[in-house]
């Protein structure tokens, strides 16, 4: 009961190992009751978690550049997935969905950190070196988050799979259930679009 409340309230502040176990336990426990209604398959759910957990972690960690936060975000993604999991028809749509939610949660996290940082700066006068080092990372993260946010999901997911996971076009095509030529075009368009978004934000590469 306590566990359910903690997780459903998203008050996640535990270390990743404990959290991983907690999430699995929470999902398994709820799956048992769901199974009676024939809504969700426990084995499939475990399979999905095992398949995508480390991959999602890699992507999220690249965006937030913080292993603890990345771990928390991934756990949160799976809890959200569990709650809406029964709506998915195919594996490719699950994959796209997980990526979308993971990216959005990462972006939200960065924005939240930036906001907190701003407030912190107002309240406490941090020493110059610490402040500048933090600002440097925050600026970078914010720019990357904004660029990813502005990019349409159709283009963002293939690009992230290629850039962050170094997947081949054939594998991406298989995962997303689209043609290899489509993958090639979408990644190319995504890069062009990202360049224009970066320029719009004042970043000249």
């Amino acid at each position: 009961m306590v566990l359910n409340t903690m997780l459903s309230n998203r008050k996640i502040c535990y270390n990743s190992c404990v959290l991983n176990t907690l999430t699995k336990f929470y999902i398994m426990k709820k799956t048992e009751s769901q199974n009676k209604q024939g809504k969700i398959d426990e084995k499939a759910l475990t399979d999905i978690m095992n398949s995508y957990q480390s991959r999602l972690f890699t992507v999220v960690n690249k965006i937030v550049i913080d292993t603890d936060a990345a771990s928390d975000i991934v756990q949160d993604v799976f809890i959200t997935f569990y709650e809406k999991g029964e709506q998915f028809e195919s594996r490719s749509s699950i994959y796209t969905w997980l990526y979308r939610i993971a990216t959005n949660k990462s972006i939200d996290y960065i924005r939240k950190v930036a906001r907190e940082r701003k407030n912190q700066k107002k309240l406490h006068h941090l020493d110059n070196v610490t402040a500048k080092s933090h600002d440097e990372n925050i600026h970078h993260k914010m720019i990357v988050a904004e660029v990813l946010k502005e990019l349409d999901e159709t283009f963002r997911v293939p690009l992230m799979l290629a850039e962050y996971e170094k997947m081949s076009y054939a594998d991406i095509a298989e995962e997303l259930g689209i043609e290899v030529n489509t993958v090639r075009t979408r990644i190319f368009r995504a890069r062009k679009k990202m360049l224009s978004i970066l320029e719009k934000h004042g970043v000249q590469l």
């Binding site: 600002d135 720019i143 004042g202």
Partner: protein, 167 residues
């Protein structure tokens, strides 16, 4: 992938550059692209931009504010010039807002003075919005008159009172 019809098209080579970034080119395509890059400055610039983008995404290049101090010597930095809201645009916005508020203010005043024609069974009379509530006596008086002036001032309670006394 090879497309002889598009061989002179920049977009075809731009696509090849994107594929090259992900290691998806065949040997023939690599050679074809290298040949083109040797002669095309536009595509060379794009290749550099795609590489820069990739390094920003994986965090090996850090985007920082122009005025920020670069603290880590092992990293590459790209300056980010924060775009400020142009002064001329701000001035134009203020002028538009001012014009709108003046128009609205004048509009409200005119609206208060505009009459609303209320059709009555006895042929209709005009009531001015914003005017004080009229007594039954005053309404009866107005119904009896044919050529009433439409000037709001004339329908003031004082005017009504004097007209009533005159009768």
């Amino acid at each position: 992938m090879k497309n002889s019809n598009n061989s002179n098209n920049h977009e075809y080579y731009e696509m090849l550059i994107s594929c090259q970034m992900d290691g998806e080119l065949s040997k023939e395509e690599e050679l074809e692209l290298e040949e083109h890059l040797a002669t095309c400055e536009h595509c060379r610039a794009l290749q550099a931009k795609f590489r820069g983008l990739s390094s920003v995404l994986d965090g090996s290049t850090i985007v920082v504010d122009t005025e920020a101090e670069k603290t880590d010597g092992s990293k590459t930095y790209i300056d980010f010039h924060r775009k400020h809201f142009p002064i001329m645009k701000a001035a134009a916005c203020v002028l538009i807002m001012l014009a709108l508020s003046i128009t609205t203010f004048v509009g409200i005043n005119n609206h208060n003075r505009t009459s609303i024609n209320l059709a009555s069974s006895s042929g209709g009379y005009e009531v001015y919005e914003g005017a004080p509530l009229m007594s039954d006596t005053f309404v009866a008086y107005m119904d009896g008159e044919e050529n009433l002036s439409t000037d709001y001032e004339e329908y003031s309670p004082l005017f009504a009172y004097f007209s009533y006394i005159d009768d």
